[in-house]
């Protein structure tokens, strides 16, 4: 019975901070917290199935991006002994169009380029760039300022971290409300 009530309380609506711009056409399911100055484009999907998702400030989540905290493949939702793990995403990250991220821990200033695919057991530190169409599904911590690129997922280390997209965020926060309705959180 404890488990049942836990599951019920987890089905809250998303907690969206006041400075965030989340379009109503985006799909947000489960216990999701979104920080201030984060922009979520229409058709982006943030799905917290197997645990909550906490997203920091200043993130840019573009169209058709999928951030999902899902159950690992061999575990069914109702099996016993499954803990809900929280997915944490830091600040100033960019999730480009069509990417998919299942990584449980993402730091700051990372860029996940279009159609990239991150596995659940990855941990991104900061300044990492996962190149377009790169599928990375290893169980490791990616060191800072790593760039993964190319069809063979080659790696190199860059000397500068990617710049935070402040200009783009400011622009979007001004323009998007002119064309889309926004999701707001009911404050308790």
């Amino acid at each position: 019975s404890d488990k049942m009530s836990d599951k019920q309380s987890a089905q809250k609506s998303a907690k969206i901070a006041s400075g965030a711009v989340v379009c109503v056409e985006s799909e947000i399911r489960g216990d999701v917290t979104i920080g201030a100055r984060t922009v979520v484009h229409p058709k982006a999907r943030i799905i917290a199935e197997a645990g909550p998702i906490v997203i920091g400030e200043g993130n840019l989540i573009e169209e058709q991006a999928l951030i999902i905290n899902s159950y690992p493949e061999n575990i069914t939702p109702d099996s016993e002994g499954v803990e809900a793990k929280t997915m944490t995403i830091g600040i100033n990250n960019v999730f480009e169009v069509g990417c998919m991220s299942q990584a449980l821990k993402i730091g700051d200033n990372n860029v996940i380029e279009s159609k990239a695919d991150l596995g659940r057991n990855m941990i991104l530190t900061s300044g990492c760039i996962i190149g377009a169409c790169c599928q990375v599904n290893t169980c490791e911590v990616i060191p800072e300022n790593t760039v993964i690129f190319g069809s063979g997922c080659q790696r190199r280390v860059q000397t500068e971290r990617p710049q935070p997209q402040t200009l783009q965020l400011d622009f979007l926060m001004k323009i998007l409300p002119n064309y889309h309705h926004l999701k707001k959180t009911v404050k308790n």
Binding site: I129, G131, V147, F149, G150, Q154, R155, R156, V157, Q158, T159, E160, P162
Partner: protein, 480 residues
């Protein structure tokens, strides 16, 4: 099924130095020789050089002129590289120039600072920047970037000059020997030898157009060259050393910093320096690409000549086979059974504007061209008539459909310049592998490029000649 339209299902045989079987879409048609030509029986010539990213043109004649005129070797033109564009040394993508604003003191008043633009090179693919190797930002958007100098440039240039002179001298001696021996037949022997021989020491294929019946010009050329190269170039031989630099002491104990180690490909693309560390990888100018023209080896006419402008994909001369020869394509194949007669539907398309008559003939026993067929084929015996290609046909509603009186057993359908017809196939081998059939197609061809003969009254329409091609079709596996 799209797989039936794959180009390698239908092959045409080309009679050249080698017998080549290849799809019609890859072949050329020399309308002066009236024969099919493949890429292997034509000579490929460089038309012009262009940079693939900035699309700047550099005709090869100009590039070579610059090389000979300037005694100081202009590296950019000699190596056929673009002056403006760079390649990323890490991933070989094209580098783009980015600008940042940096505060810089005003020249008039050092105490005030104004925002000045600083430019650096960056790769959009692997995120390499010119700052990674310590190259300072430049104040101009283009033209400020220099490749590092090779310390061995002078020695290499001297060696190149010496060996070029040597090669020329050897060539003169060789040609003079040939001259002495075969004086009456000289022009032909000379031209066949020197046109396609790649000269030693990389001087490149020099195409010397020898006009038949003019032996004097070649001799004149020889004596001129002799007069020019009076100056002897001497080089010092290379010196062998006994001692080699020893390895550093921590060679085995120092931990490897993997991101700093260059890959073989990165290293070898910079043959001057071949740096082992990624912090020594400097960007190189982008290599130029060529536009190539093709020439028939027998009659020396151009078969394909692209336009000069790099942005244009059209051709000045484009004698491709699909515009002259009727094309056979496979439309549908029933289940093929061993030693059972099956009916295959093929299409024939007429590429020219006049009516074409096509006769199909099966290959005879012991035909030397028929080496791959694994099935017997019965082709229609009657002559097939193909209507001309009429671009305006679909818009012309009043046109009367031409009546060709097709035999419904042979011709399945007819649609403007295309007909579908049946052939009967009896697979003869039960093994794995595709059923292959071959036959010959004989069609009439009106040569519009034939030289204009003085005609008596009334121009007769161009004479039709009959061409025969050997065609092989790959019909797929036998279904048991």
């Amino acid at each position: 099924m799209a797989s039936l339209l794959q180009p390698d299902r239908v092959l045409y045989l080309v009679h050249g130095e080698k017998k080549i079987r290849s799809p019609l879409s890859t072949l050329y048609f020399c309308r002066y020789c009236s024969e099919l030509r493949s890429l292997e029986c034509v000579s490929h010539e460089v038309d012009s050089h262009y940079c693939p990213s900035c699309l700047e043109n550099m005709p090869s004649a100009e590039a070579k002129l610059k090389k000979n005129r300037k005694r100081i070797c202009n590296q950019l033109n000699e190596n056929f590289r673009c002056a403006n564009c760079f390649d990323c040394p890490c991933c070989m993508h094209t580098l783009s120039t980015r600008a940042t604003n940096i505060p810089a003191p005003l020249p008039d008043d050092p105490s005030k600072t104004a925002m000045k633009k600083a430019y650096y090179l960056a790769c959009g693919f692997c995120r390499w920047t010119s700052r990674d190797v310590g190259m300072a930002d430049k104040s101009v958007a283009s033209g400020g970037w220099q490749e590092p100098d090779n310390p061995h440039t002078q020695r290499i240039n001297k060696l190149i000059e010496y060996y070029q002179q040597l090669a020329q001298r050897e060539k003169l001696e060789r040609d003079r020997k040939k001259l002495a021996r075969r004086r009456p037949y000289m022009p032909l022997a000379f031209s066949q030898h020197t046109i396609h021989v790649v000269e030693k020491y990389g001087l490149g294929t020099r195409l010397q157009r020898q006009r038949p019946g003019a032996p004097i010009t070649s001799l004149a050329g020889l004596s001129l060259k002799e007069g020019e190269d009076q100056k002897e170039i001497n080089i010092e031989p290379a010196q062998a050393l006994d001692e080699v630099e020893p390895l550093p002491e921590d060679c085995y104990t120092r931990p490897i910093n993997l991101p700093e180690v260059t890959s073989l490909r990165q290293r070898l693309l910079q043959p001057d320096f071949q740096p082992a560390g990624a912090s020594q990888l400097h960007p190189k100018h982008k290599h130029l690409l060529i536009k190539r023209s093709l020439r028939c080896r027998k009659c020396e006419h151009n078969l394909s000549k692209p336009e000069f402008n790099p942005t244009s994909i059209k051709f000045k001369i484009q004698l491709v086979a699909v515009s002259y020869i009727p094309e056979v394509r496979i439309m549908s194949i029933p289940n093929l059974r061993f030693q059972k007669e099956c009916q295959v539907l093929l299409t024939l398309t007429n590429p020219v504007e006049n009516i074409t008559h096509v006769t199909l003939v099966g290959c005879e026993e012991g035909d030397p061209e028929d080496i791959n067929s694994t099935a017997k084929v019965m082709v229609p015996t009657k002559e097939l008539v193909l209507a001309g290609k009429d671009a305006a046909a679909e818009y012309d509603e009043l046109a009367e459909p031409q009546d060709f009186q097709d035999d419904p057993d042979v011709v399945a359908f007819r649609k403007s310049n295309k007909i579908g017809f049946f052939i009967k196939v009896v697979p003869q081998r039960e093994e794995d592998g595709d059923v292959t059939v071959s036959f010959k197609i004989r069609h009439d061809f009106r040569n519009l490029a034939a030289p204009i003969r003085p005609s008596e009254e009334g121009d007769a329409p161009a004479e039709a000649i009959w061409l025969t091609h050997h065609v092989e079709l790959s019909l797929g596996p036998i279904i048991a």
